[in-house]
Amino acid sequence: MTEVLSAPHSMEFPYTRSTGPMVGAFLTGLRERKVFGVRDSSGRVVVPPPEYDARTAAALPHDDLVEVSPEGVVTSWSWNPKPRLGQPFERPFAWALVRLDGADTSLLHALDAPREQIATGMRVRVRWADETTGDIHDIACFEAVR
């Protein structure tokens, strides 16, 4: 009569987000299978391009982007043993920070490669989704460059 009750409770909504000009430009690029960055006030090419400069808070030019290569180098990685709902893969995979050639900062995404092959400094490239729609999932993941 006194057992404390509990029950499953879930919260779900398909959020509809307006991207604004900068994120919109970056995602339009992904749809065309191109990766863009932007030069910030310190001269760094930042990928993905932030809407506002970290130092000055000024809006960065969404119409003056810098295209970077879809290939680059792993600057850090971690292994994801038990993937969770919504993550890029349902089987164990690696998260990676990748500095694409032409960029000064790293992009975060999944890396699909055998665990023993993965190391900081390894060369990887974007694996594009079969169908691109203007979403971060247009990059399916990174994969090793042979």
Partner: protein, 167 residues
């Protein structure tokens, strides 16, 4: 929203978000829900101010102390105030309009929100005496919806002074 066709620049995306939890109403409310499963309204009394709360949450919200003894309250009461609702919402299908009432069950010092039936929107009055209409016993669950609705009973209305405190 997201421009799937190739021409226009992207202006929007859709990001579905789902989170799953294990929710517990806590000890005090669980006791109350066990009571409902047996067709009883088990309130709790505050040791400091002596008020009876139906349903009890964690402790007395006015005094910030744990509740003391349990107090069973009647399933008859006074309709303190109400809204006639013409807006339906996702997970509840009732024909509109319906009356959402705040009922002060006899013995409780707190109103409970419950559906009012058996009276039309233009006859319903603040102060009406009402009784709970329970679902059939075999449909009882750990939920306030065991009380399907309250309906008027043949008693004179409570006078305003007696329930205006609970507004």
């Amino acid at each position: 929203m997201s421009a799937a066709d190739g021409s226009k620049p992207v202006k929007g995306i859709v990001t579905p978000i789902r989170l799953d939890y294990r929710y517990t109403p806590g000890a005090a409310q669980s006791r109350f829900l066990h009571g409902l499963k047996e067709g009883r309204l088990l309130g709790r009394r505050c040791p400091q101010c002596g008020k009876v709360y139906v349903p009890p949450r964690g402790g007395c919200p006015m005094c910030g102390v744990e509740f003391a003894e349990e107090v069973e309250v009647a399933d008859t009461g006074t309709l303190v105030t109400y809204a006639v609702v013409n807006v339906n919402f996702a997970n509840r299908v009732i024909d509109l309009p319906y009356i959402s009432g705040e009922v002060l069950f006899d013995g409780s010092d707190m109103t409970s929100m419950v559906l009012v039936q058996g009276v039309s929107p233009d006859e319903v009055r603040m102060g009406m005496r009402v009784r709970a209409h329970w679902l059939p016993r075999d449909e009882w669950d750990y939920s306030f919806t065991n009380i399907d609705y309250v309906e008027p009973i043949d008693e004179p209305d409570a006078d305003y002074e007696s329930f205006k405190e609970a507004l």
